[in-house]
């Protein structure tokens, strides 16, 4: 079970009050977690990753265990603590703009 924390705008959009929990088959990576997230909440398609390229949107970041994972490869395994649900995978709107 993977825990995902979404920024407020995306929680509103997905109509979820808090953390999202997901079952992810296989290796837990950014790609597999986001694929599972978008499958569960299709309204989030295009809001975190570009529809066409599947690349992270420029003003979105991924954090976990006080580390910035944004520039890790999409298929790189997430830290064990995230993969086991001890720590959440955090999606953040960059601290810019607005």
């Amino acid at each position: 079970m993977i825990r995902v924390v979404l920024p407020a705008h995306l929680r509103t959009l997905a109509n979820v009050p808090g953390e999202v929990t997901l079952d992810v088959a296989g290796v837990a990576s950014q790609r597999s977690v986001l694929d599972a997230l978008e499958a569960e909440y299709p309204v989030l398609k295009g809001t975190i990753r570009d529809h066409a390229t599947q690349e992270r949107r420029k003003f979105v970041r991924f954090f976990a265990q006080e580390e910035d994972l944004s520039h890790d490869a999409p298929d790189a395994p997430l830290p064990e603590a995230v993969a086991t649900g001890v720590e959440p995978f955090i999606v953040v709107g960059a601290m810019a703009g607005g």
Binding site: H9, K45, V60
Partner: protein, 371 residues
């Protein structure tokens, strides 16, 4: 008693303002989608309870929302806007080639013929259409690929297709406007397009009367006279009497012919409204006086409308999509400002009152006349 529903898009959400036909007592509902940029909200002429809204932020991109109950509830629909084929390049601000990249939807134009058909004008400039109520979007690539696309360049707000004017008497004919390319017309329901900018003159481009390259800010049509079009260009107010084949300037005695919105009285195709702005860099009214100008002669002769509008120390702007008219017997005129005011004149511009004073910066105003 009939009434009106005013749909307001702002930098930080959408608002719905409603009143009966007197248009004096208003209910303000919102913000909807608080914190998001709402570039445009517009209702279907076929089904007034069907509303479409463009919702975006720099963080999370583009969403389209649809309401089937007049804005009481909303649901997200399709948000994938993918250019057909390999989109190539247009000009960047410095004249170098720049790849076409989708940024946002500026304008949503529900079809006058079918509530499930809606057009979207986007940045970087292209026209998309949905025929299933916004669930799926497909580009009409004949516009972007008609030939002049690589020469288009962005205006200050981006290279956006911001105006979509369907001919309500002919489903095959439609006009769009792009900053900074100009006006384009289709007569085969969007398959093929031609630039229709003859008569426009623009400083700042190498050939002042080029076929494309003009920063058209807005065009407007009266439904009873679909061959008459009015245009607020970067500078100059223009008119066409032949479906955009040719344009002539009708700026006349305006204090400035720079501005953004232009609209036409609901019952008189010769009565036109603009909001003069000082200049291309001074985006506020001349002399700090917020004045709507009305021409009852289809241009050239303009009168200032000031009653109820601030006549000192006013330095707001009125953006291109932020003016609308209702179709009640006494035509109401509406506009919103970057200072967050939405004004109404229930008597065709003679006197104005603010409906609201302190919204976020207003990006768009549309009005629905309800039975």
């Amino acid at each position: 008693m009939s009434g009106v529903r005013v749909l307001v898009g702002t930098r930080k959400g959408a608002f719905i303002l409603t009143a009966d036909g007197k248009r004096t007592d208003w209910k303000v509902d919102g913000p909807h989608f608080g914190g998001w940029e709402m570039y445009h909200v517009k209702g279907s002429p076929v089904d007034p309870n069907r509303l479409y809204a463009s919702q975006s932020t720099g963080w999370f991109g583009q969403l389209i929302q649809r309401s089937d109950d007049g804005g009481e509830t909303w649901a997200p629909v399709g948000n994938e806007f993918r250019y057909e084929g390999v989109p190539g390049t247009h000009q960047w601000y410095d004249g170098t080639p720049h790849p076409w990249e989708f940024a946002r939807v500026w304008h949503l134009e529900p079809s006058p013929f079918d509530a499930d058909t809606v057009f979207a004008g986007v940045e970087d400039a292209a026209l998309f259409r949905s025929v299933d109520g916004g669930n799926e979007w497909h580009e009409l690539p004949g516009l972007r690929e008609h030939g002049s696309g690589p020469a288009w360049q962005p205006g200050a707000g981006g290279m956006c297709l911001h105006t979509i004017v369907p001919d309500p008497t002919d489903a095959n004919r439609m006009y769009v406007a792009i900053s900074a390319a100009g006006v384009f017309r289709t007569e085969d329901a969007g398959k093929t397009w031609q630039p229709v900018n003859r008569g426009l003159h623009s400083e700042g481009i190498p050939d002042e009367d080029a076929e494309v390259g003009h920063c058209v800010h807005r065009i407007a049509m009266h439904p009873s006279a679909p061959h008459v079009l009015y245009m607020q260009k970067h500078w100059d107010v223009m008119r066409s009497d032949d479906g955009a084949d040719t344009w002539r300037e009708v700026s006349g005695n305006l204090p400035s012919d720079f501005g953004f919105p232009i609209d036409v009285h609901a019952h008189d195709p010769e009565t036109v409204y603009v909001v003069p702005i000082t200049s291309d860099s001074e985006h506020y009214p001349p002399e700090g006086k917020l004045r709507v100008y009305r021409s009852r002669t289809g241009g050239n002769e303009w009168e200032p409308l000031t009653k109820g509008l601030p006549q000192r120390d006013c330095y707001v702007n009125v953006l291109r999509d932020a003016m609308a008219v209702d179709s009640l017997d006494s035509c109401g005129i509406y506009f919103g400002t970057t200072g967050g005011q939405v004004y109404v004149s229930p008597d065709a511009g003679d006197a104005w009152e603010p409906i609201v004073r302190d919204l976020p910066a207003v990006l768009s105003v549309e009005v629905q006349t309800l039975p």
